[in-house]
Amino acid sequence: MRRLTGVTFLLLIWMIATHAWAISKPTENSDIDPSLFRIDEQKYLGVKFGNEVTLLDEKGAPLAFADLPGLPFVLVPAYYTCDGACFNVGVALKELLKDVKAVQAGKGFNVVFVSFDKNDTTESLNKFVQQLDRPDDPVPGWRFTRYQNPEAIQTEMGKIGYKFFWSPRDKTFFHPTLIVILTAEGRVARYLNVLNVTPKDVELALLEAKSNQFRPSETLDYLVSLCYSYNFKEGRYTLSIPVFVGLGSFFLGIGLLFGSLWIYRIYHRKNIMQRGEHS
């Protein structure tokens, strides 16, 4: 009996000790706090990107941003051996752009993937392209590039506040699923989380980026875009209520004029008729 009590007591101590140890030991969390990747957008809007570096295109040939047609860009920071987020970003972007009607990829803007992995090669790039850009579903205006000088990657990505980390344990990069809308001059116009936006958001961001050079045929789309404003908190565009209130009150003024003329006519006619009855 005494032995049983002793064993029970030891067992209890062991349980308490293991619990205490478990509680005291910090949890090893394999996730990275997403707030680390947050970009202070207002700090980087208008920043010029990529005008001093040379990229390598799908064939390994040098390519500068200046060589691309003078159109806004959708910049997609990615790495080509990524089997998760980067591929999903590409697919999501393709789907989004199918529903962007006001501007067409290749005509109104370009999509440029830029690798932030110094180990990416022409082969890894083309493998990624093949996976993403299937021959039966070609996407015009898309370019896939990597830096000619890998040393420039950190500086260039840092310019637009884009953060990424290599995790040796997971053998992967941690990075945000952002696309960056750049003006034709390469200035940052908007950051969008591609997994969290609608085609309308992408369209509005592109129209905003090309507000200095929209074509006459895009005038209506541009005017429609003025009815929206970007919500930094939600990371998407929302209807700008003051525009409608302003327009409504503008027409209210015009309505008041015609309304009062109409009321006076009725009032005046009634007076004349009453006078006629009295006489």
Partner: protein, 535 residues
């Protein structure tokens, strides 16, 4: 209620629906606003007479005190004096008389509009009582107006009351002009003042609701926690500026057009000439201003960020509006050509207005151009420019209107010596005040700064001269306004038509006009015009 009741009865004045009494109530209210705005202007100028704290308590809170003065000066001058002085007083008193109408189309609405105006004046004056005084300029730009400790609600309610009052007035007068003209009176026989009010009130009616909407949303942002103008939460801070100037630039023409109309009346009467190029001035000038005035507001936002094409487009429309303004100016000059000009107090103000129009107009050209506006826009150059064209030109037009129609309104003549002395002090004073500001503006003196210690030391000399000018103006204003009060009480009796005008308010009404305005219904024939002078 009639104007011819015996003795002064406060109740009759408060509840009057007579357009002439309502006009006088507008005049009294607007002169009260002008007086307080003038005191604020003096405080501003005295503060700037030397760098560092001059009359503000200390360097730490000085900016806050100065901002309150700026707020009240701007809001009271534009919302309380210039617009109500011209479209409230002058239009109310004169418009029905000029078109041969017994009253306005909706007399009770007219009474409501003057009550709202007075309520607006009272709310504006609360500025001096409440502990957290509004300090948001007359523009009320967010985010400052949303985050300041100052009482933004007072600003918003003042705009609401004044705005609603002016919408009602605009509706009333437009209907009156369209439907209540004397039988036989065609559109091309209208007085220039009637045309100027007609066009100004169209602008007023269309654009004021937009300002009212903008400040209402501002109120919601400030007190109800909405985010209409908060970019961090999906709002658009620049949108407020767009909505504000969408009204407030056309408001310049709401002031400018009736001011020009007044000078047309004075020039034609004093020169005994018909209006030079009447149709060009009316249709090419006034009507074109209505069309273009809604497309020029963006030049107030040149430095707030916008696409280049918009900047260029707005530069073009801003410059384009100088064409109708130019047509009107030529017509005004032409009306004097070979005229038998009588120089009296209204004509002194009229002649000075030509000079003010010229200086104010010419200094506006560089400000319309993007490349120069970026440098000059936020300096005292702009400050001097809009004071010449909007502040002084329009103020002189109100003074000229009171002086010109004083015999008709009161049945008394003004003291000419005091009136002329007042004019010269006003005219010399404003030049001494604002020319130095043009000069230091070009050299980089910013607008709205209470302290300029960090700028070149010679700016202080110019500011001292400008302050001296403001003191001279203050003396001139006191002489002018006291002349009205004294002459109204014990001035010489005025003849029915002291200036020999051909306009209906002089030829067909008693002095001052009685109830119903005209002893007999007025009809005019096709050959009649208010300007058919035979010399």
């Amino acid at each position: 209620m009639s104007t011819a009741s015996s003795g002064f009865k406060l109740g009759e004045w408060i509840f009057t629906t007579d357009h002439k009494r309502i006009g006088i109530l507008y005049l009294i209210g607007s002169i009260a606003a002008f007086a307080v705005a003038g005191i604020m202007a003096l405080l501003i100028r005295i503060e700037q007479a030397a760098p560092g704290p001059t009359i503000v308590s200390d360097a730490f809170t000085g900016g806050d005190q100065y901002n309150v003065w700026l707020y009240f000066h701007g809001a009271a001058m534009i919302l309380g004096f210039l617009i109500p002085g011209l479209t409230g007083f002058a239009a109310n008193y004169l418009l029905p008389l000029m078109i041969g109408a017994k009253d306005v189309a909706f007399p009770r609405i007219n009474a409501l509009s003057v009550w709202l105006f007075w309520a607006g004046i009272v709310v504006a004056l609360l500025t001096f009582i409440v502990p957290d005084k509004p300090d948001v300029m007359w523009t009320g730009y967010p985010p400052y107006s949303v985050t300041t400790a100052g009482n933004t609600a007072l600003y918003v309610f003042t705009v609401h009351l004044m705005g609603f009052s002016s919408i009602l007035a605009a509706v009333n007068f437009l209907v009156t002009i369209i439907y209540m003209r004397a039988p036989g009176m065609g559109w091309n026989q209208l007085n220039m003042f009637v045309w100027s009010c007609f066009t100004a009130l169209i602008i007023q009616l269309i654009f004021v609701p937009v300002l009212a909407a903008a400040v209402t949303l501002l109120l919601f942002d400030r007190y109800l926690g909405t985010h209409f103008f908060d970019p961090a939460n999906g709002g658009d801070v620049l949108l407020y500026q767009n909505l504000f100037w969408f009204y407030s630039h056309p408001a310049v023409y709401v002031i400018f057009l009736p001011a020009m109309g007044i000078f047309y009346e004075i020039f034609a009467t004093m020169a005994k000439n018909p209006i030079f190029n009447y149709k060009a001035a009316v249709y090419g000038g006034m009507c074109c201003i209505v069309l273009i005035s809604g497309e020029v507001w963006v030049h107030h936002l040149y430095y707030s960020g916008m696409p280049d094409w918009l900047r260029i487009g707005q530069m073009v429309t801003t410059l384009l509006i100088s064409v109708p303004v130019g047509l009107m100016t030529i017509s005004l000059f032409g009306t004097l050509y070979k005229g038998a000009i009588t120089f009296n107090i209204p004509m002194y103000y009229g002649t000075a207005s030509l000079y003010l129009l010229l200086i104010g107009g010419l200094t506006g050209i560089p400000l319309a151009m993007t490349v120069m506006s970026v440098h000059l826009g936020e300096t005292s150059f702009t400050h001097a420019h809009f004071h010449f064209i909007m502040g002084i030109f329009a103020t002189f037009s109100v003074f000229a209107a009171v002086d010109f129609w004083f015999p008709k309104i009161t049945g008394k003549m003004l003291n000419p010596a005091q009136g002329k002395l007042g004019f010269w002090l006003n005219f010399i004073g404003v030049n001494i005040t604002f020319w130095p500001l043009f000069i230091i503006g070009v050299e980089g003196m910013p607008r709205r700064y209470w302290d300029y210690s960090q700028f070149p030391s010679h700016f202080a000399g110019y500011h001292k001269v400008a302050t001296l000018g403001a003191i001279i103006v203050a003396i001139g204003m006191i002489l002018t306004i006291s002349n009205w009060i004294i002459s109204a009480i014990k001035g010489e009796k005025a003849p029915d038509n002291p200036w020999g005008s051909n306009s209906l308010e002089w030829t067909h009404t008693a002095t001052p006009p009685g109830p119903g305005n005209f002893p007999a219904p007025v009809t005019v024939d096709a050959t009649w015009t208010p300007y058919s002078y035979k010399r």
